[in-house]
């Protein structure tokens, strides 16, 4: 589900160091930043922690934004870098005794959600997490955030054709991996892809 883009006038105001504008900008973008971290980070990433770090970096480095038009893409790039770093940290923790990786809890889910639904959710999340970063990003932005290919291309600073090809690869990999791990009678059949 897509969120409304915050008031664009906040960016120039913050760049001009108007009083309170930086905090207003950060608060307006906070839900977006959290969503990106939550969806792109996967179940083993602490999305709250990553989003907090991203917002702090945003406040500290806003001066490096050349034009308000590139702000969204710039902020998304900060999130990507922080997510990539935290994912590596999360992976490393698996080799450190006693440092268990925190799995995100289904805090927003009430008791009405079945165990099966929770399992399905974890499987989808994990399949998404296994995709290469470039494919995961386009899948989340296009399928979950319902952005157009052109909007996604602008956000990722890549050509629209690249978005299309990555999206195609991502859909294919996601479908293949989900079918592979989903317990289903049809999956018992031998794979057609045998060399």
């Amino acid at each position: 589900m897509s969120l409304a883009i915050p008031n664009p006038s906040l960016v120039p105001a913050a760049l001009a160091r108007e009083p309170g504008a930086l905090d207003a900008l950060a608060e307006a973008w906070l839900p977006h930043v959290y969503r990106w971290c939550h969806r792109l980070g996967g179940p083993s990433l602490d999305a709250e922690d990553a989003a907090h770090e991203a917002l702090i970096v945003m406040c500290r480095r806003l001066d490096s934004v050349n034009s308000p038009a590139v702000f969204q893409s710039w902020l998304f790039n900060i999130c990507r870098k922080i997510i990539a770093n935290q994912r590596k940290r999360a992976w490393f923790k698996r080799w450190v005794p006693g440092a268990a990786v925190r799995e995100q809890e289904f805090a927003g889910w009430g008791p009405d959600r079945s165990l099966e639904a929770r399992r399905a959710a974890v499987m989808v999340w994990k399949v998404l997490e296994r995709l290469p970063e470039s494919q995961r990003e386009v899948l989340v932005l296009v399928e979950l955030e319902e952005r157009t290919n052109a909007e996604t291309a602008e956000l990722l600073n890549i050509p629209t054709g690249t978005v299309k090809s990555r999206l195609r690869a991502a859909r294919e990999a996601f479908r293949r991996d989900l079918q592979r791990i989903t317990p289903h009678p049809s999956n018992a059949a031998p794979s057609a892809k045998v060399s």
């Binding site: 589900m1 905090d23 950060a26 608060e27 906070l30 839900p31 959290y34 969503r35 939550h38 969806r39 999305a47 709250e48 989003a51 907090h52 917002l55 702090i56 406040c59 770093n85 590596k88 940290r89 992976w91 490393f92 698996r94 080799w95 995100q104 289904f106 805090a107 927003g108 889910w109 639904a117 399905a120 959710a121 989808v124 999340w125 998404l128 296994r130 290469p132 970063e133 470039s134 494919q135 989340v140 399928e143 979950l144 050509p159 054709g161 690249t162 299309k164 090809s165 990555r166 195609r168 690869a169 859909r171 294919e172 990999a173 996601f174 479908r175 989900l178 079918q179 892809k193 060399s195």
Partner: protein, 337 residues
């Protein structure tokens, strides 16, 4: 499978988490923002962790940047997968499930057969999937060429060179076309240099023209290339393209297109060619050709013999061999000296 529906099974961000984040962020902002120095230790720790992440053995997902300009480099990704490359891209995944995002250059892939290894190479123009084989992928301005040495691959081009965009389980070479007008223009030039058929060249130029925005230099350049190709196969269409080029106000090849239009129009009539031949008399002296004046004189002879004579007399001084003979004959026809 409805991918969007599957993705929506994931838990939505928790509103309480967003509230917690907001409180945490406000608390941080009311304190002094941490200085860069306080980040050095965690940054160093992170760098160390990243280094360990690269060197530690095991089958956790990894990601490496491939960058070799000039010399060919080799990367053994796992016991099953080896790359030889000169160019740049990124390889990620596990030992048995590998994805290469290839940005440019040449990469040769060796995948051990019968190990269940899945490998995909993704470029803007194509996705190449393989199980147990050897092949190379070369990406440049003219598109992507996949050369399968042995084994099996599935090639999925965004724009294929042939009608069939999906080629599977065959040994051979496939080309995925570039996705931009500039790429099509480069490819058209490459095809000309390598002696490709007019039909092949026309197909690429037409694809480029579909992509190019009218009024841009790119569109003009592709139009000029189509004039060149069509001149040998469909002169009325070539004339129409040359005149479209001139009408659109493109400048980079204006004289060349004017000259092409004049010659193509002469196959129809002098009346059709005269505007172009007259325009060629106005071009800068460095771009002038004496033969343009001879052709104009031949058309003018029945109605304006004196002007035709003047043009021919001027041209004769600059012409040689057959062209000179032609001008001389025209002068003789006018009763000249």
């Amino acid at each position: 499978m409805d991918i969007q529906k599957e993705l929506r099974k994931m838990p939505e961000p928790d509103p309480e988490a967003i509230d917690r984040l907001r409180s945490k962020f406000r608390a941080t902002r009311t304190e002094r923002m941490p200085s860069k120095a306080t980040w050095i230790a965690p940054a160093l720790a992170l760098a160390a962790a990243a280094t360990l992440w690269v060197v530690l053995p095991g089958d956790a997902p990894r990601e490496l940047t491939l960058n070799a300009s000039g010399a060919t480099e080799t990367l053994t990704w796992s016991d099953q997968v080896q790359f030889e490359f000169s160019g740049h891209g990124t390889v990620s995944g596990t030992s048995q499930d590998v994805t290469v995002q290839w940005d440019g250059g040449r990469i040769a892939v060796q995948v051990a057969p019968n190990t269940g290894t899945e490998l995909s190479i993704v470029t803007d123009e194509a996705i190449i999937q393989v199980i147990g084989t050897a092949f190379t992928v070369e990406r440049d301005g003219t598109g992507v060429t996949i050369d399968v040495t042995h084994g099996r691959v599935a090639v999925d081009c965004v724009l294929a060179d042939s009608e069939d965009a999906h080629v599977t389980n065959e040994i051979g070479t496939w080309t995925c076309l570039p996705l931009t007008a500039a790429g099509m223009e480069t490819r058209a030039d490459m095809l000309k240099e390598t002696g490709a058929s007019l039909q092949e060249r026309l197909k690429i130029v037409n694809r480029g023209l579909e992509m190019a925005e009218i009024g841009t230099t790119q569109h003009g350049e592709l139009l000029a290339r189509r004039v060149e190709v069509l001149t040998a196969s469909d002169m009325p269409a070539a004339l129409a393209d040359a005149e479209n080029y001139l009408d659109a106000g493109y400048t980079t090849r204006k004289t060349e297109m004017q000259r092409s239009a004049s010659r193509l129009a002469l196959y129809q009539s002098c009346d059709r060619a005269m505007p172009h031949l007259e325009a060629l008399q106005e071009v800068p002296s460095t771009d002038k050709l004496a033969m343009d004046a001879v052709l104009l004189a031949e058309c003018l002879a029945p109605t304006e013999p004196e002007r035709a004579r003047t043009l021919l007399e001027q041209a004769v001084a600059e012409l040689e061999s057959d062209d000179l003979q032609r001008a001389q004959n025209a002068l003789d026809g006018l009763g000249g000296k």
